[in-house]
């Protein structure tokens, strides 16, 4: 009994203190993984905030963006041009989704829109593979997957770039939501779309904007994940990892998506490395979901989710 207690509550921390450089490496790995989750979660949050729709297809949008980017690069298009073209494709996709999916389904129940995004999920998956082929591709955007060592800590250049990109993206989005006219309108629509209509906010424009932004976020996520682990079908499954991030951070909160992602990324790496041996490993696979479950019980709106304002 005492042995078990020691193994759970003392030994891991002794290990951490014993090799601080290794601990920092684990933490960095966790932060990186967390930011990747955050990027995917961010796409969900944006769409959920503005339309109350849980976009099941966000994961596939990441895959689709990465596939398009790789496809263009393979045809010899320079990196920056390829990025611009992919952005155009994602914006065009947003227009198409508004016109063909959202507009005909306006005023339907949320569950129906959710089902529509499941359909969208399958369509995009097939469409992407039809256009660009189904084999695993390597995405090379010119940032070497190399590491350098600072004071005994190994730092990966690619991960560093990804983290910086994510930070910039999040800052830009936060400013966009808080300070701009369109951003304010987006939050207004999220709060009460009928009232937003009554003061002249055009819902269609808002939807196109929000799906476009989600598309751009998908490009960044696809870029980073693709550069790390290749572009393949399994990329769309990271959407499943974004779900606990959303529950943790709150469905409507941009900062929540970031903090939630970091907590889950760091938590699962620490758990895997230091506590994993106790249970035979694979903590990484279930840690996020268990944490999400605990949050659902204790704080269903998440860390930063909007509290349901009840008047009495």
């Amino acid at each position: 009994m005492l042995d078990l207690l020691y193994a759970v509550a003392v030994a891991p921390f002794r290990d951490m203190a014993g090799a601080p450089a290794f601990l920092i490496e684990v933490l960095i790995g966790g932060v990186f993984a967390g930011l990747m989750y955050s990027l995917v979660a961010l796409g969900f949050v944006l769409i959920f905030k503005a339309s109350g729709v849980f976009n099941f297809a966000q994961g596939v949008m990441v895959l689709f963006a990465a596939l398009t980017l790789v496809g263009l690069l393979e045809r010899g298009v320079p990196v920056l041009v390829a990025l611009a073209l992919t952005t155009v494709v994602m914006v065009a996709l947003a227009f198409a989704i508004e016109r063909l999916v959202l507009r005909p389904l306006v005023n339907q129940a949320h569950i129906i829109l959710f089902m529509a995004t499941i359909g969208l999920n399958f369509f995009l998956e097939g469409f992407g593979e039809m256009l660009w082929g189904a084999n695993v591709k390597k995405l090379d955007i010119g940032i070497p997957d190399r590491s350098f060592i600072v004071r005994g800590v190994q730092i990966n250049q690619l991960e560093l770039t990804a983290a910086a990109t994510a930070a910039v993206l999040v800052t830009v989005l936060a400013v966009f939501f808080q300070r701009t006219r369109i951003g304010r309108a987006l939050r207004a629509v999220a709060d009460d779309h009928e009232a937003a209509l009554s003061i002249g906010v055009p819902l269609r424009t808002i939807w196109v904007v929000v799906w476009s932004v989600a598309g751009v976020v998908a490009i960044v996520a696809g870029l980073m994940w693709g550069a790390k682990s290749g572009v393949q079908f399994s990329l769309s499954l990271i959407a499943l990892k974004a779900l606990p991030v959303l529950i943790l951070g709150g469905f409507e909160s941009v900062p929540g998506a970031i903090v939630g992602g970091l907590i889950i990324g760091v938590g699962e790496k620490l758990g895997e490395v230091y506590w994993g041996p106790l249970v035979g490993g694979a903590i990484e696979n279930w840690f996020a979901y268990v944490l999400a479950l605990a949050f659902l019980l204790a704080r269903p709106q998440g860390l930063f989710g909007e509290k349901i304002i009840e008047r009495v």
């Binding site: 939050r187 009460d192 003061i199 002249g200 304002i309």
Partner: protein, 272 residues
């Protein structure tokens, strides 16, 4: 056809509204609002007041309703096929029943959101000051989340927000709902001032007929999706049936005492 001016600001002629392709809710509703006037639209719950306002603002379609007959004209231009945002750009803004503030936005953000259709930042700032001038209470509340301010203040936010779109006509749906009499009086006073000083015309849907007829020049009474009576506000408030059914007065103009309330309900059959 009522209307004192040759061409009113808003002319609703003979509209019919059908929900979900089958449910007929308005039949042959016609009304007019003069430039800079206040018109009251009275009636009980479910008479069709809100539907009429929604038909004008275009919000009807979000509720699966449609104007199937008749026309709604603003300055002689048909607007009943327009999107709500186009209607707002034409200068008609609705303040919905039940306030509908953006709860998670601050009071000031709510007001700024109201200026969405306008792109001039400087004019927006000026209008913000104007709203604070008319609703001094909101100045203290500007940084509060709108979901947490009082009901009266929320109603002020809703009206102020509509004002930010610089309307020529404001459609006010039940501004007295759920508010204490003192607050209702305060809000009505501000509405009357806005009308006087900013020349905003108002179409006012109300159950609180006493209050509405005090500020309005003209009134319409609705029942079962039709307009059953109209006339200038004085005439309407003198009407025996209106007194009994809407103003709570007996025939001789005395406040009705609950001691004498009849135990059956006299029903008026409106013949048209």
């Amino acid at each position: 056809m009522p209307g004192d001016t040759p061409r009113p600001l808003l002319a609703v002629s003979n509209i019919e509204v059908i929900y979900d392709h089958v449910i007929l809710v308005l039949r042959g509703v016609s009304l007019a609002v003069a430039e800079g006037g206040i018109v009251a639209l009275l009636g009980a719950n479910g008479a069709g007041k809100s539907t009429t306002l929604n038909a004008i603002s275009g919000l009807l379609r979000t509720e699966r309703g449609e104007v199937t007959k008749g026309s709604i004209e603003l300055h002689g231009q048909a607007i009943h096929r327009h999107d709500p945002s186009a209607v707002v750009k034409h200068g008609v803004v609705q303040v919905m029943e039940g306030r509908h503030v953006f709860e998670h936005l601050t009071v000031e953000e709510n007001l700024l959101a109201g200026a969405y259709t306008r792109r001039n930042g400087q004019a927006t700032r000026r209008d913000l000051d104007l709203v604070y001038h008319y609703f001094p209470r909101l100045t203290e509340r500007r940084g509060f989340k709108a979901g947490y301010v009082s009901g009266g203040e929320q109603q002020m936010v809703a009206i102020g927000r509509a004002l930010m779109a610089q309307p020529t006509l404001m459609l006010l749906d039940e501004p007295s709902m759920g508010l204490a009499p003192k607050l209702v009086a305060e809000i009505y006073e501000i509405v009357a001032r806005l009308n006087r000083e900013e020349q905003v015309a108002v179409l006012l849907a109300e159950q609180n007929a006493t209050m509405a007829l005090q500020v309005a020049q003209h009134g319409y009474v609705m029942e079962n999706g039709r307009i059953v009576l109209d006339g200038d506000a004085k005439t309407i408030s003198q009407n025996e049936d209106i007194k009994e059914f809407y103003l709570g007065l007996t025939g001789v103009g005395q406040r009705k005492s609950y001691r004498d309330v009849k135990h059956y309900r006299r029903r008026k059959r409106w013949l048209s």
